[in-house]
Symmetry: C2
Subunit: 535 residues, 2 copies
Amino acid sequence: MRQYEMYEIVLKGSAPEGSEASVDVSAVISHNGQKKQVRGFYAGNGVYKIRFLPEESGLYSWKVTGRLSAEGSAEAEPAAEGEHGIVRASGEHYAYEDGTWFYPFGTTVYALAHQTDELMDQTIDTIAHSPFNKVRMCVFPKHYNYNHNEPAYYAFRSEKPEEEESAGEAAKKYGVWNPDHPDFRFWDAFEDKIFRLGRLGVQVDLILFHPYDRWGFASMSMEKNLTYLDYLLRRFAAIPNLWWSMSNEYDLTPAKSLDDWHTLEEYVAANDPYRHLISSHNCFHFYDASRPAITHDSLQVKVVNMVASERARLHKPVMIDECCYEGNLAEYWGSISGKEMTSRFWQAVTTGGYCTHGETFLDKDADEDSAIVWWAKGGRLTGESPKRIAWLRRLVESFKAPIDPVVSKWDVLKAAPAEKLQTLAAQMPESTAIMLRAMSCMTEAEKVLMNAGEFGYEGHVDDRIFLWYLNRQTFGRFQIELPEDGRYKVEVLDTWNMTRETVAEDVSGNYKVTLPGREYMAILATRMDHLTSTR
Amino acid sequence: MRQYEMYEIVLKGSAPEGSEASVDVSAVISHNGQKKQVRGFYAGNGVYKIRFLPEESGLYSWKVTGRLSAEGSAEAEPAAEGEHGIVRASGEHYAYEDGTWFYPFGTTVYALAHQTDELMDQTIDTIAHSPFNKVRMCVFPKHYNYNHNEPAYYAFRSEKPEEEESAGEAAKKYGVWNPDHPDFRFWDAFEDKIFRLGRLGVQVDLILFHPYDRWGFASMSMEKNLTYLDYLLRRFAAIPNLWWSMSNEYDLTPAKSLDDWHTLEEYVAANDPYRHLISSHNCFHFYDASRPAITHDSLQVKVVNMVASERARLHKPVMIDECCYEGNLAEYWGSISGKEMTSRFWQAVTTGGYCTHGETFLDKDADEDSAIVWWAKGGRLTGESPKRIAWLRRLVESFKAPIDPVVSKWDVLKAAPAEKLQTLAAQMPESTAIMLRAMSCMTEAEKVLMNAGEFGYEGHVDDRIFLWYLNRQTFGRFQIELPEDGRYKVEVLDTWNMTRETVAEDVSGNYKVTLPGREYMAILATRMDHLTSTR
């Protein structure tokens, strides 16, 4: 047993008579005078497992009750190097259980775990050699363009046992899955992918429901949904590298009202003894991330300029989990350039948020159904953005602490309501007042449009680091403002060509940076007299 | 005298005793049994002029009354080749008086007429060799970044005659211009630029007021504003190549309420016998272009996706008169790339609108005040967009009729109010209904954001031409829909590299176009069996 690594108590017993999901087996785990109750699950073949996560080192003891009884204890060794525990929200950022900052740079392979073994091996190998330390993937198989294959196994058996040999056909025919009878082959194979990704240090943002479905998983009854979640939480909650994404595109998922989503989200929060991160991802209308059980914002959005305002509103991390995909598909969402993907990462990261990658290339003559498109099935990455995202990740990690946005006076004014602007105008000299009064006449739509067309991306790490991302502006010069009491080195970064050049040293206060007039530049100012501090 | 060319009746008389602007001289111009009253103006030195524009060929006679009397007549020859008369709105497009379509491709040189003769000559020469057939320029001098020089002359004399030798100094000191006493040197020099541009076929979008001012022209009393407009209209209204732009950034102009703007706009409409185009240009909040005197929308906006909806709302032409400037200034508005400028033209033009260029390059070591930045002072163009805009202009002109937008079902849905979407959802199969219900939950801000991040630009010329501008999407393929009853040639256009390649012929109905996966591509489908028609 080791701190931050899942521990498993394995017991033998007779198969459950009724539900194989909601079995009457649980354990009280004692450590340092504290007790935690965790439920066990049936793993098939007369095997029951109770999983728990030692969050500290030292002696853990357990007492199993219910249809099985057992007791035991073991010493949890201190965490192995590189193991830091579950990732949690820490203010507007993410940190592991041990306080080490975690900077998510995610990718998306929705149906990662529903492919051939060979392809899944290749996908995991690709991730291992990529900049990505988080992957969004679904529990249920996915039915959508470029992704119509049958998985090897389904999560549950059908209610028609005579059809067991072909559960997929049965469900298509009868639309009746039975979550009380998990297909253990599915769960064994599925968690193997989570474990393998965990060993690579990759967080799995596990999508619990999604709309793209021909089998009926998206439209089960709420009773069945809760039985499914019960089994999933018993089985997975002690795995450290997991986040719960309640849904992909919650607002397109059939058979669930907003009340249903709240019920599901609260159920997960209440039945996860380890309080993994919980979010819900939208298509058209943002999910209400201010809800108490939601730990962070998980947005699908194509204009990445709301990170600072969302952070300020929610006091939670803001993750752009879908900003379109680098690729060449015929769909708008699947055909942004590598430049644009890289840019969206920079936009989010510079303003104190996080972004998620995906790739959707299809060979010219490929058959759409059998093609292997990364965002659906995995395989190999061929896009231009991953190596630039890797470069950004190295830069961010070199800062040793997360970036917060610099909210300019101008940003504050743009967000202010009309009455506030009128009041301010009355206190200002006429030249400023004119501008404020003009701004007070803007409609909300005009404000959103203005921000969408022109936005200043600026971030800082306390007074050590200041970062400006200039996106597609071709500035030949740019005015920066640094603290008067520090001395800074100023570098010009080409985020596309991945170069950095020192253009000034010993700078403080206002400084005009000379730039080459190219797109995708950034400016980095690093305090020269700072003491290296690491959290 | 010739059709479509300004004709001038020149009379001698004693200098006016009171106002030199609002003089009591007018003429009734008779032609073909129709009479038109036009007012004359005092040109200084005992010279009065009455200008009128023969809009048809044939005999014109006139009778001058007021402080001077005269009669006369002359035969207007038919229009010279290339002369088409005043440009007017024609539905959502522009056409000359004779019905010839006019496709504006404008540029911006705000203080064109307030520079040295040498520089003005250079600017006009540059325009002559550019793709631009319209220029936005101000009557009054401009005081703004990169543009602080004194003009040679001012439009009026100061109210303090003892300061006459240095009117600019006087006005700065006293802030009192006297529009009843025009400085004729100014008006002679100014109209020379309009005439010269007219001979090049260039429309002057004349900005009558603007906020960037240190002399007091922007904050004259309304009485003085009207006297100024009176003189300007008497003098300029018969010049065919003029449009009236009531203001640049009306909402930032001091000393004018919205009521004042309405008064000024209505005054111009009522006192211009030739009904030139009238617009007003915004900074933050769009001017209400639905007002009867406003002939077209003149927008400042940085995201160019509202052309089709504005056209549908207004039934007037929509012109993006400021979409930022290609350049390298330190300001956001002055540092978009040549690619972005070209793209904004394509976005506007493909969806049935028009766009205006501007350029703001500053040499690395240039002095900001003495530098010659095109958008302010003119000079030479050095950007990458003009030759691409020229390529676009040639393409558009080859269509022989203007482009109207194709509004997709999807665009209609995005614009629909929530109740409409809910009603539609109730009539649709569940898979579609889910999407409509989700869209009905979007806030206005979410809708604007969605359109800003992803927009389909599609236009057509009746059933002869279909055009898709794919902007920065890197499609490897794209589905187009053509009429079933036509046979089309399909070309792939690279709008940046200015190449076109025929990829299919004899196509009708749905067709999947193969694309190279690069940014800035377009698709052009031309009906192969059409008869060439020219309006």
